[in-house]
Every structure is written in C-alpha cells, then in structure tokens.
Symmetry: C2
Amino acid sequence: MAKGMDDTIAVRIGKALADRIISGAIEPGARLRQDHIAEEFNTSHVPVREAFRRLEAQGLAVSEPRRGVRVAAFDLGEVKEVAEMRAALEVLALRHAAPHLTSAILDQAEEATKAGDKSRDVRSWEEANRAFHRLILTPCGMPRLLATIDDLHAASARFLFAAWRSEWETRTDQDHRAILTALRQGNTESAAAILGRHVQWIGRKPVRTASGATREAFAIVG
Amino acid sequence: MAKGMDDTIAVRIGKALADRIISGAIEPGARLRQDHIAEEFNTSHVPVREAFRRLEAQGLAVSEPRRGVRVAAFDLGEVKEVAEMRAALEVLALRHAAPHLTSAILDQAEEATKAGDKSRDVRSWEEANRAFHRLILTPCGMPRLLATIDDLHAASARFLFAAWRSEWETRTDQDHRAILTALRQGNTESAAAILGRHVQWIGRKPVRTASGATREAFAIVG
DNA sequence: AACGCAGAAATTATCTATAACTTTGGATCG
DNA sequence: CGATCCAAAGTTATAGATAATTTCTGCGTT
C-alpha cells in the first residue's frame, strides 16, 4: 500500500494527476490550479509546480507563462500521430527484444491476452493490453526507447477512455495471438509486421453526446 | 537579442543548462547544485528545480531523490539507441513531410548541406546538419513527433561534441545530396531508405585522453 | 441587448526561511 | 593501523510569505 513511499512529493503528485488526466477524471482544457492542488495534497505549491513540468513533458498538460497550466486537448490528428509513433517505435523495440524472449515470457504474454479478452470494462482491458506490450518489448533493454513508448501508451489510454467512457464490448484479440505465434516460431519480421499494423488500427464508434446528438469517437485499440 | 524575454526564469535556466550539457561544458556525472546555479542566475532555487525536471525529461540529467541531480552519463549503447530511434522516427516524419515539400524548401536544405560541408568546426557543422533535418521534416505537421526528434537531436549533438571536442575534418555529405535528389524526383521511399541508413551511421575515431592513452570515441554523424 | 471598461478577487511566479537528509572529516575504539 | 561511530557542514526538499499579472464581475455606455 505504501507505493512510492520513497518517491518525492512532486513525483507522487505527478503520478496522481497523470492518472486523473488519463482516466478522464479531469477534462481536456480544464485548468490545473496549483494552490488548490497543493491544498488537496496537504503540501505547498512548490512540488505541485514540479509535477506540472513533468506532465508537460509527457504531453498531458500545456502551460502558458503567467496564465497557468491546462490539461492538454487532443483531436483525431493526435490520435493518429501517437498511433504511428507507437508503430514505428514498438516495431523497433520488438526487433531488439525478440532474441531475448523466453517461452516463459511468451506464456505470460498469452495470459495477458486472455485477461484482455475476458475484460468487461475498458479500464481492465487497457491494463491487460499494456501488460502484453510491455512483456514482449521490455527485453530489448533500451531504456530511453521504453520510456518514450510508455509515454505514448499513456496518451493512447487517454484517447481510449475518452471514447469508450463506460461502455465496452468484449472481443478476442487475434492480433496478439498471431504475434505470439510468429514469435514462438522465431519469425521476428512477421511478428513485427503484425505489431506495426495492429498498433495503428484505430477503432471508431458512434457515441451519444450529452446534448443527445451522436458524434464519432476515435481511439487506438491495440 | 532579447531572445526568450517572455519566457519564465525556469525555462531560461533550463535552456542555458541544456546548452552547457550538450556542448560538454559540464561533464557527464557532474553534480548540478541548485543553490550554486541559483546564485549564478541571481534567482532563488525554486525555478532551478523546475529547470531540473525539464532536463530530466529530456534525458540530459538524472535525479536521485534527496541526493541531488547529476548530468546524465552515456555510453556506446545509448549512442546506438538514439541512432535507431532517430532512424525510425525521422523516416516516419519524412514520409508525411514529402507531399508538402516545395522546391523552395529543398533549395534551403541544399544550402544547409553546403554550409555543413564548408564547416571548419563541429559546432557549426552540427548546426547546419540540424537545419537540414529540420527543413525536410518540419512539413510533416506532427508536433509531438517533431518534439521527440528534437530531443533526440540534442542527445546526438552531445555525443558528437563529446567525441570530436575540438578537432574536425571537413567532409562532403553525399547522403544529404542523395536524399535531396530522391525527393526532387518524388521518390519518397528511396529518400526515406537513405535517411534511415544515414542517421544510423556511427562515426568512430581514436581520441587521445588526458592521461595520454588512446580510446575510441563514437558519435552519430548524420 | 451587446460591448467595453474599471475595480476587485483570484492566481501565478518568485523569494526568503526552515526542516530534514547526506555526506564528510575527525576522533575513538578494537 | 584500520574500522566505526559521531558531529558538523553542506545540500536538498518543503513551507510560508510577497509582488505582479491575469481573470472575473458588475456597471455604465452606445
């Protein structure tokens, strides 16, 4: 329970805010007022400001000097941009990770896939999906690459939660299974090709807005 | 000359420190002591701490809680990692930029290449090289991708300055010319392929250390 | 009714001060 | 002679306070 007890206060606040932004608890464009947040976390505003800088770097918040910081807005263009960046970088990571993948890791990845297929809500599906990608990419041993991919996953999750706020229909992930099969056969290039396409697949869904009209929602579903 | 006069103090300090780290004025592993830096810039330590968070996100500094922040160390592994990330992302950016490239832009890029070939020192070569890449990639219109590439260029420059501290021999950049030729012919895939190889070309050079021994220095030379 | 302009309230950015932690140097003990 | 412990100095992390800027609100004018 004492998760991150040794973390600095600024890091703890940063993680908490990131979680809220990703989950959609704070809406895009909403202002983040440092004194209010400081009061909520029972600290002064200094660590809050440091947390803001971290969120800014992750692309979750934007700051205008003397005008405060807001939750970053996003549109279909950014969804596509993140999808393409993930495709390029995850393929790179997989090529380097492949030689170090053990059957134990691939079994864990299969478990994650099954957990995703069983998920009844977006939140647990996202968790399982992220676990899958993490498992097969981490062995690449490239910390900077993995950190960048993590930030992109955070952005992806945000799009996902914004589009599928509460409704979610279970579906079996054929791509994950195909990737695992290719990896088990030692066919790295084939696995990389599937992963590259998989990550760029953008789900579309008509969503009823508060005003009753229907618009189309977009999110990366991989 | 009042560049960034409207920037916040934290941003100004961040840029100044980034410049020193990249140029090698501060060595890898050196401690960045907030009070000393605050005194130098005639500020308190609070904006200095914010600048630290930004440097951390850029991968130029590492911070251990309660133990201060140091200039990030790097090794051949990270040079290779950055080279591969640049290859993947710059190729992606070029594919999207290609349709928007005008002959005016390509002419500017050719000028940058000539400036690079004429450069007598590393610093001006790096500046010209970065201008070339920026010119042909910016029209992709993907801000997040470009920001990530910028950070990678900063890392590349750091490796470059560390290896070729003062000595530099002029050399004509055939890759840049080949890329421009392919782009002028509308052959995007060929240009992308050359760019991908170009960026991963790691220069090697024997360098005499302070103790008189010779070690091998590595840097991305594209 | 819409627009624009004070004045007031709220908020940001910074500085000064305080508390807590780490490291360092030296003295003591084995 | 070396290791260990203790104390002091230095440094980091947070808190509280201050000045300056922005935003909000209400009123008057067109």
